[in-house]
Structures are given as structure tokens and as C-alpha cells.
């Protein structure tokens, strides 16, 4: 028996529930193409593109803490106009959906970016949750009214599937997600990184040049599970689970909590190939066989008490 691993996500047909998370692989269209050739990858989310080009922060921008990664890249990207041309070239060369992550600071920027990028993307993910950028990301994403206006403005200019990536750095994630759903998003990606910092005890200084950064990887997985679970209880839209997925168990946990698909980011560190996607997919497949399920869809949200 071969369980059905195909997923339908807010109108996107995915050959696998595994998606490459935003922020990893940078702006390299070559890297996106290379990872898209892995059969276990169902879709790719691009690095977040902003209205203006950004160099990002000075190094150190990332550090391995063992239990996770701390980074403050500072959303480096060539800006939406420049990147549009590269995405246009890329889109003809890849066979899986290309989800373009955008990080607008207000509804006007959102409108301009979506209009320009609509023809070169299969879907959009709004990044209103990066914890370490001024006037972007979490600074707008923690205010339900700003989330509502940016989402509405984005929605107005695209009929493509629209995701919003939410932050765990708020008191009530459900409130933010609900505002986005009311303003027209089709699905929620949960979660972005957690605002945090590290100090080197020998240097006696913060490691990151930006002092604060976002924690990803293994350490944040239980938080992702909790938030996916909460969102599934409260909302009707599909949820994409993201946060510390390193193996099939991590993925299954998020699916049982309510995720319809899974994003993998930090776990690609140190890896020369992208075999981690094959390993996770095989593990999920074997799990479904062992438990007697014919499709991954059968276990979404199963951990919830009826």
C-alpha cells in the first residue's frame, strides 16, 4: 500500500506536503531550482522580498546554538523590482508551485509588490512576523489592525492563494491570525522565529551585530505544535506547520496538531544535498502505512479531542 501524499492547499496542488520555508536559500534562483528538483519537495517559499533593496545586517548574522539557530540576517534581498526578473526566469524552469514571500511595511507597499509579482508567482506568503527588522515584519505583524489592512490590500490585487506567516512573539496568535482570515488570507503559516539573543561569554558581548535575532530549529518545535493546535481549534482555514522540523516525527506531530502541510527550514543547515526532504517523506509514508491510513489527509488534526 502506498499512502497518498498529495495535498491540496488553498488551491495549490502539492505532490508532497513538504515545503521549503522562507528565509533559507537566500535569493539564489539556482538554489531554488536545485531544491525543487527533489521529488519530496512539494513547493518552495522564496526569501522574503521587500519594497526597497536591503543589504541586511553586518556579520555575525547567524550562530548555531546546538539546540537551534539564532539569526538576524536583516531580510537581505534585492528589492521586489529587481527580483521580479529573476523570478520570471525561474518560474519557467521549475515544476512545483513557487510561493513568493513578501514583507511590506504598509498596505501601499503590499499593493505595489503584489501587482508587480502576481505574474511570476503561484501564491504569496505575507511575512508579517520577522522579529528583528525595524518597521517590517513583527513590528506590523503584532498589530491586528495593521495586519488587517495589509492583508486586505494584498488580497485586492491577487486572486492567487494567499498565506500569512504569523509570529509566536505575540500574546494572542489567534487574534492576529483571525484578523488576517477576516481580511482574506487562504491559509496560515505558523510559526516564524522567536525573538531572542545570545552572549558570548569570552567576548562578553552579544554575538549578533543586531543584538537581537530570531530563534529557529529544534528548540522552537513544541511552540510550533502548540500554536498550530490553537489555530486549528479556532479557525477554519488550512494551516502550514513550520518550526524545528528535522524528521518525520516532528512533521507528524504538526500534522496531528492540525497542519495540512509542513515547512522545513533550519534543518537544511550543514546539508550538501537536500536528502532531509526524502528522509522526512519516507518516514511520514511509513508511519501512515504502519497506522493503516491511506492518505496524509486522514490524520490532519487527529490529535484534537472530538
Amino acid at each position: 500500500m502506498h499512502p497518498d501524499m498529495k495535498v491540496e492547499l488553498a488551491g495549490l496542488a502539492l505532490r508532497s506536503p513538504l515545503i521549503v520555508a522562507s528565509g533559507v536559500l537566500g535569493s539564489s534562483t539556482g538554489l531554488i531550482k536545485r531544491v525543487s528538483e527533489n521529488n519530496s519537495v512539494g513547493a518552495v517559499v522564496t526569501k522574503t522580498v521587500t519594497y526597497n533593496p536591503r543589504n541586511g545586517y553586518e556579520n555575525p548574522t547567524a550562530v548555531d546554538l546546538g539546540f537551534g539557530f539564532l539569526n538576524a540576517m536583516g531580510l537581505p534581498n534585492p528589492g521586489y523590482l529587481d527580483y521580479k526578473n529573476e523570478l520570471a526566469e525561474l518560474r519557467d524552469k521549475i515544476e512545483i508551485p513557487l510561493i513568493v514571500s513578501i514583507g511590506p511595511s504598509n498596505s501601499e507597499e503590499a499593493a505595489e509588490m503584489v501587482k508587480a509579482l502576481n505574474d511570476v508567482s503561484d501564491a504569496f506568503e505575507l511575512n508579517l512576523s520577522c522579529p528583528h527588522t525595524e518597521k517590517l515584519g513583527l513590528e506590523v505583524g503584532s498589530d491586528p489592525e495593521k495586519v488587517r489592512s495589509i492583508t486586505a490590500s494584498t488580497r485586492k490585487y491577487t486572486s492567487k492563494p494567499l498565506f500569512i506567516k504569523v509570529s509566536p512573539n505575540v500574546t494572542d496568535v489567534v487574534e492576529i491570525a483571525r484578523a488576517a482570515v477576516e481580511a482574506g488570507v487562504d491559509a496560515i503559516t505558523a510559526i516564524n522565529t522567536l525573538k531572542s539573543m545570545a552572549i558570548d561569554v569570552n567576548a562578553m558581548k552579544p554575538v549578533l551585530s543586531n543584538t537581537y535575532g530570531g530563534l529557529s530549529g529544534r528548540a522552537i518545535h513544541p511552540i510550533a505544535v502548540r500554536i498550530v493546535y490553537e489555530l486549528y481549534e479556532a479557525l477554519e482555514v488550512p494551516i502550514v506547520g513550520c518550526g524545528g522540523v528535522y524528521d518525520w516525527k516532528d512533521a507528524i506531530e504538526l500534522i496531528l496538531a492540525g497542519a495540512s502541510a509542513i515547512q522545513v527550514g533550519s534543518a537544511i543547515a550543514y546539508s550538501n544535498d537536500f536528502k532531509i526532504f526524502n528522509d522526512i517523506e519516507k518516514g511520514v509514508n511509513d508511519y501512515l502505512v504502519n497506522k493503516g491510513f491511506g492518505s496524509i489527509k486522514n490524520i490532519i488534526g487527529l490529535a484534537h479531542k472530538c
Binding site: 528565509g23 537566500g26 535569493s27 547567524a62 537581505p76 558581548k205 554575538v207 543547515a269
Partner: protein, 270 residues
């Protein structure tokens, strides 16, 4: 596999050796030993001065040498450090050179590349492999590590663009003459990218296995941020490199384009 390299290793500057007006070598004593393969790189951090990738020029248990050209703010600050000052290292990262291929090795170092190739040279000597070391620079005052290599009894030949010492001409021009004289099965090269691509093309024409060490803007150093990617093949210098078999990357952005701080594709100038 994950979480093996948590914290920075503290390193104290024991000596700062001036190589040329633009290049200095820091001799460092490490707080703990690092096992660094020839061609691997370290991320070198000094708080408030920044962090850059450097391929060491000598690695010996708790002693590491970094030969640094003053090209930007961070490299200029690091190159000016005095004995007793502290810096912080993470790594080693990347693959390093493959020195298992049979045959003779021709090492081609432009600028500080000669210094960064020295650990590979020492390893080859240890293995009893025959080597020849080509060192190049704009003029005799710009040559890096020549005295050190002589001290290490390396078989070296020199090229200068202005002919002030050794062969009069560029390293790729000299390289052509050398391989016409005697055959080498292997070439290792570190230096300006425009130079390396010419060496790599010449190797391709002559059936020589060539390994090149690339420099890109390295941010995370561990393969997730994508800033050092080589397009259109999508290879990351920090984990898939920094050493590549030239055959693998000829015809890509190697020698032509890189990505700047913002991830925008720009021309390689050096």
C-alpha cells in the same frame, strides 16, 4: 550532525607579521584545538569589527595563522591587530581540498592565495607527493608568503605582472608555460576569481584535474542563508565548497557573477 559547533573559540594574537603594505599574517594561539583540513575556512569575529570567512595559512593544533588582505572594514581592522588582542573563531566550515587524487600537484596562488594554499602544500609533502608552487603578484613587493614557502623548502616559481621578479606576466600566462614543460595531474588554486577561471579553463583544455577555492559573501557559514550561492547551479560556497572541482563550475557564474550583500547578481570584478 546538528549542534556540533556551538560557540566561538577564543584566540589570542601572538604576533602580527607584515607581509606587504596590504597584507598581514596573524599568528594566533587558540583557547582550544581546532582540527582544520587544508582548504576549509573559519568565520573570524571581532566584536564591533564584524565577521569574515578566512582560509587559514597555517594550522597546527592550538596555533592558527590567518593571512589577511585589507580589502574592507573588517579585514582592515583584523589585519591591524596587535599581540595580546583577542578574536573569536567558529568552524572549520566547508569541504577543503581533496588531496587523495593520484599524481603530481601544481599549486597556483595569487595574492594571499599562496598563503591559504600552504596547509595543502604541507599535507602533500607529508604524503610524499611531488609538488610545484606558483606564486604571483603585481610586483615583487606584492608577493605573499614567498619567504615562508622557501623556509618550508617548497619548490616555488614566481610570476610578477611587471616582471620585477621571476616570470614577467600574469599567473595564467606563466601557468601555460609551466604545464607545457611538464605534466601535472592536479592543480589547486586560490586567488582572484578572474585568474582562477583562466587557470581552470586551461586545465580543462589540457585534461588536468583542477580544484578551485571560491570566495563569496558568506553570512551564516553553515548552509541555510544562501548568501554565498553560485548560480545557476545553486551550489553554496560555505557547505558545497569552498573548494570545487573546476569541471563542476565552469560555465556557471564562476568568474563572471556573484551576489552582493542584498542578494543581487553583480559582476565579478577581480
Amino acid at each position: 550532525m546538528f549542534g556540533k559547533l556551538h560557540y566561538y573559540v577564543e584566540a589570542e594574537v601572538v604576533r602580527n607579521i607584515s607581509e606587504t603594505s596590504r597584507v598581514n599574517t596573524l599568528v594566533l594561539k587558540l583557547g582550544q584545538c581546532m582540527d582544520i583540513k587544508p582548504g576549509q575556512f573559519l568565520m573570524v569575529w571581532r566584536p564591533s569589527d564584524g565577521e569574515i570567512p578566512i582560509t587559514p595559512s597555517l594550522t597546527q593544533e592550538d596555533t592558527v595563522c590567518l593571512t589577511i588582505e585589507k580589502v574592507g572594514f573588517t579585514s582592515s581592522r583584523l589585519a591591524g591587530l596587535k599581540a595580546g588582542e583577542k578574536i573569536f573563531l567558529r568552524g572549520p566550515y566547508g569541504n577543503g581540498f581533496n588531496l587523495e587524487y593520484p599524481g603530481k600537484y601544481l599549486l597556483v596562488g595569487g595574492g594571499t592565495g599562496a598563503a591559504s594554499l600552504t596547509p595543502a602544500y604541507l599535507k602533500l609533502v607529508e604524503k610524499g607527493v611531488q609538488t610545484l608552487f606558483l606564486v604571483g603578484g603585481r610586483n615583487s613587493d606584492n608577493l605573499v608568503y614567498v619567504n615562508k614557502l622557501r623556509e618550508l623548502k617548497a619548490n616555488i616559481r614566481i610570476a610578477t605582472d611587471d616582471g620585477s621578479l621571476g616570470f614577467h606576466g600574469t599567473l595564467p600566462e606563466f601557468f601555460k608555460e609551466i604545464i607545457a614543460e611538464s605534466f601535472f595531474e592536479n592543480v589547486l588554486t586560490i586567488g582572484p576569481e578572474k585568474m582562477m577561471v583562466k587557470i581552470a579553463e586551461e586545465c580543462h583544455r589540457n585534461g588536468i584535474r583542477c580544484q578551485v577555492s571560491l570566495v563569496r559573501i558568506v553570512k551564516c557559514g553553515i548552509g541555510f542563508c544562501g548568501s554565498c550561492a553560485l548560480d545557476p547551479v545553486g551550489l553554496r560556497v560555505c557547505v558545497d565548497g569552498p573548494v570545487f572541482n573546476a569541471e563542476e563550475i565552469l560555465g556557471t557564474d564562476f568568474g563572471a557573477y556573484m551576489r552582493n550583500e542584498a542578494g543581487r547578481r553583480v559582476e565579478v570584478t577581480l
